[in-house]
Symmetry: C2
Subunit: 344 residues, 2 copies
């Protein structure tokens, strides 16, 4: 049995789901992969939970809320680098702070500290990778460390595994994806006859859309995921400014209804296509009309999907994958296991 | 640049496509993965092509046919173990002999020789794995060697990568697949109104069905693939006799037509479901009626697809992947690269 210390940053829904999943899967991960994943600490900006012994879910959350005040494991002022120096052997940072796609922080600083101290990194947050993917990737490779981010790129839908592993040796000639479950849910409801505002309200009522839905409906979440997938799988170094983004906010119900009557569907499609000029890629997120023969035509509700077009393997399409915090936590666990397991 | 000697067994369509692909992708594989894959030999039952220097496509095939008589590289009587001893450094067997699901030969003997001599194995042929998966897997693991078989389990459709890597840590609760392109093509044509015999003849005319189509249409090809996927991903040790198999040969056009009129489709579905009794799995291949909401409903023509149902990641569906010798060769190359590349 190999013991791996885990340090978690972030205290939100995904973190909570991850801590719970780690507990639920403890026996199975030990038995099947020979791994014991110990939660060594949870780090916040002003201190951390750290007791010198593995933390369990009951040490971290109380009544579903982060437990800081009165927690005997709370170490005010103790930061990530101090935790890493105290936790042996070398382990893995699991980064779950909120995504800030303009600054990349606070995740960016955490990831750099982890990699510079010889720890692997698994992240569910997009910000740092949107801002500094190439720098972080080079830093990880230079130290012989893993930097994995399934949790940031459609989570339980294994976009990167397929793009990087399953298509190895094939040339990817294009990528098209429905990468945001919230906007796809709204479009599905609009296809059922609702107008945009009513569809958004229904999504908010079910907790599918956030109170401020702009990241999702204006296409930036899709754009960030597309960017990460493209930069990883096509070995490019694009920034968010290279993606032409238009969301679904201005979409009239009539346009969606007309598409349905014509046997088509409107999807918020994120795509990468070779530039006409030859070199480089056109990256775009926009509402697009799909024919019934398109492999993503049937992706509906909160479901996501991606199609890779290749030279030797034809097109490979992936759909499904649970779109909730537990699905994201499962993607983090998957990445962790694949770093430390014996190769199959 | 890391040099990997490759020995190929088998001289059929997939072998030829593989030799061509190795040549076509030489620069790309070198540049992107730092690998130089050298074809050291092609082994037949009565001798091999071996010159001590890497073979290229022109040494192996002439006018699209295996080139043995008059080939200066032909070494009558030289077998796989002798080739392996002569080729340095350690390399990989690429096994492409015809699948015999009753005896596993000749692939079984070749794979054992390779593993016992410290070589990794990548195989496109199902026979040996159907007969002796657990034995071969144990042999490989015991020697710290890779035994990869994407080419034997739907090839360019990455069933094993997803089942083994992308779903790591999730419990697979069921598998359903359309794993045979030939029978799916025939069913698609029957949905268009043809009867079974006419649909089969059309498939044969296009080279989609073989002159003797029984392995495909009677369900045994699907059963063998299901068996390999289940034994690998669910860590079981079933044999072909454990799969309940019924094919599409007896299917009346009326049944398919009625399904279409009801908005459904008939697919040759290969499935693994937990036994009602609790322990173990029910394995089955049979024509099945799918609702439009089923994730494989839209898989048509020679396309294949698979859905994994899991506890934490929801269901993940894969469709597409080229169903021809070049697609199979690309799956072999993918497995090879993933054995030798630096981990991402």
């Amino acid at each position: 049995m190999r013991t791996v210390p885990i340090v978690l940053t972030g205290f939100g829904h995904v973190s909570r789901a991850f801590v719970t999943l780690l507990r639920d899967k403890r026996a199975e991960v030990g038995q099947r992969y020979g791994l014991r994943l110990d939660l060594a600490a949870v780090v916040k900006s002003d201190g951390c939970l750290f007791s010198g012994a593995p933390l369990d879910a009951a040490h971290v959350f109380r009544n579903g809320e982060p437990w800081v005040g009165g927690n005997p494991a709370w170490r005010p002022g103790m930061g990530l680098s101090e935790v890493i120096r105290s936790a042996a052997p070398e382990g893995c940072l699991v980064e779950c702070t909120p995504s800030n796609i303009k600054t990349g922080e606070p995740g960016l600083a955490y990831i750099i500290v982890a990699l510079e101290n010889g720890w692997n990194v698994v992240t569910a947050s997009k910000g740092a990778l949107v801002i500094a993917f190439k720098k972080l990737r080079t830093l990880a490779a230079g130290h012989g460390l893993a930097l994995k981010f399934a949790g940031a790129t459609a989570a339980a839908l294994p976009t990167l595994d397929v793009g990087l592993i399953s298509l190895a040796g094939a040339a990817i000639e294009g990528v098209q994806g429905i990468l945001n479950g919230t906007s796809n849910y709204i479009l599905t409801k609009m296809a059922d006859g609702l107008n945009y505002d009513d569809a958004l309200q229904e999504a908010q009522r079910w907790g599918i859309a956030e109170p401020d839905p702009s990241m999702d409906v204006e296409g930036w979440d899709s754009a960030a995921k597309l960017l990460l997938i493209v930069n990883a799988c096509l070995e490019t170094d694009y920034g968010l400014g290279d993606v032409k983004v238009s969301g679904i906010t201005g979409l009239r119900a009539g346009v969606v209804g007309e598409a349905v009557r014509d046997g088509k569907s409107v999807k918020l499609l994120a795509s990468a296509a070779p530039k006409k000029s030859g070199r480089g890629w056109s990256l775009e997120v926009r509402p697009s009309l799909l024919d019934p023969t398109h492999p993503l035509f049937h992706v509906s509700g909160t479901e996501k999907g991606i199609t890779f077009f290749t030279d030797t393997m034809g097109s490979v399409t992936l759909t499904g994958g649970r779109s909730n915090p537990r699905g994201a936590a499962a993607a983090l666990l998957k990445d962790l296991i694949n770093i430390y397991r014996e190769p199959y």
